[in-house]
Amino acid sequence: MGAVRRAFAPWSNPDAKPLIRFDNVTKRFGDAVAVDHLSLNIFEGEFFCLLGPSGCGKTTLMRMLAGFETPSEGTITLGDQSLAGVPPYRRPVNMMFQSCALFPHMSVEKNIAFGLKQDGMPKDQIAERVGEMLRLVQLEKLARRYPSQLSGGQRQRVALARALAKKPKVLLLDEPLGALDKKLREETQFELMDIQHELGMTFVVVTHDQEEAMTMADRIAVMDHGRIVQVATPGEIYEQPKTRFIAEFVGDVNILEGHVQGQENGLWRVQTGYAQAPLTIDDPDEVLHSGQAVAIAVRPEKMVIQRDPPRTGALNVLTGEVWDIGYLGDWTVYRVKLATGEILRVTRANASRFVENPIDWDEQVYVTFAPDAAVILAE
């Protein structure tokens, strides 16, 4: 399972009906605007990530969906039902809390059974369902333990099982892996994906960790200052960021500022202060006019660093001096200082174990990138 991702893209089907709809939703706390006229569609079966820095409004958005906050304006719909005035305990939505929020005075099985009991499910069915959930998260042996006797990872699993037990239409996960260490986090990410896949449930995850969002999500909504900046698949977010904020927030990026000179053979020519010749960028979707100020975004791994001058006529050549070298094992990071003082970040995969005469500190180097390696961001 998991190796082949389904061709799943209801958002590109104009006839598909979204499961969750935020329509022009605003949330104010006093004078502060946490969510600002936001509209968003989430489809059934999606693994959806709300990504953004702290204070961007992603948690407020999720809490409105769960029913802990009411929108100041706008409506939220789930299926065909408007959620206005529906209290949290009547919503077919369950949440896995950041702190886990396990009831400390109840054992693991009592915690998982709590929601089912509220529905008045018969005892034997509750027991069956609790057993099923414990198997799903592989905690059968710990059923009678109390939360204080569990490790951080185990608590996370109980919180997940408890939220899943009621088979909600939507599962909300608030920074689900925040408390785990790096290794466990990665494992749990894949487990969450498997569980979501298996149950076919809609997951909405809030996170500030872009790696987590990239790994798990079908689509990511990047938020900033209460607004959604871009909603797209992880690949699109990384390779075709819509704004400079996204380019900088998701992954590392080099930003080169300049002005549009014109278009030649479908390629944009941008004059910058970093090189004599204008830079050539292949970004046909952008609609630009001459003289417009733009930023060119190039990911570090899409730049090439070399000691020998490139052949004459090569495009996008920058020259500089090696300022810093960071060896990370799988990658080496070069920080190259251009004549203008800007520092570029260039990475190179360490494909072989030994390199003869490697590039050293203070060396003069050439940095090049292909026209289609860069994205033009309108300033």
Binding site: F68, P87, Y89, R91, S99, F103, P104, H105, F114, S148
Partner: protein
Amino acid sequence: MNRRLSLFNVTSLVIGFAFLYLPILLLVIYSFNASRLVTVWGGFSTQWYGALFRNQALMEAAWVTLRIALLSATLATVLGTLAALALTRYGRFPGRTLFTGMVYAPMVMPEVITGLSLLLFFVAIDLDRGFWTITLAHTTLTMCFVTVVVQSRLMTFDRSLEEAAMDLGAPPLRTFFSVTLPLIAPSIVAGFLLAFTLSMDDLVIASFNAGPGATTLPIKIYSQVRLGLSPEVNAASTILIGIVTLGVISATLLSKRSVLRKAH
């Protein structure tokens, strides 16, 4: 975290605790004194305990005190818990400043003022002084202590537990009874015990509000003490100290056991 304990620290702890416990210890020892003179040792005897139990007036006062303490502590626990909930869960409601003022003031206000003001109130509404006036007075004083004890627990309460319960389908009232209440229960019990002890112990407020029908144990002891030391009072004190010590120890053990049960 292990800190170093200097000689000075150890000395101040030893002297400090000796200062706290020696007077009580002496009182207990001299309650078994055969001599009628409280400060002169005349051999071991339990005669004063016998005398104590034959002292009808004292026994009656003890019974009244116990009933007042139970009733007022129960009332104070309910009122104090409600007040603590109001202070932590209701944000800024109208008159909140006055409310917090009324909660904190009785705790530090000299008892003579509280006692006098309540007495004048009861006279004004023409309520006969006795069992009920003392009970009402004690409820008013001790509910403030319960409020503070429960409030400080609610302050550290993780609200996401309540949100989780609601998220899982429990309406507010059921959330309160199945999640909030069990978790703040230890502080409510502590508040009750505090209220009970304060009521059992109070002399000043009870003196103002006692009537011919009801005299409490502290009032009785106080009037005997004013006449001079009495070995009977030593015996009564020893019994009270014994009850309190046993109560505190068993409460500690009980809470330890429930902690252990959850930790293993």
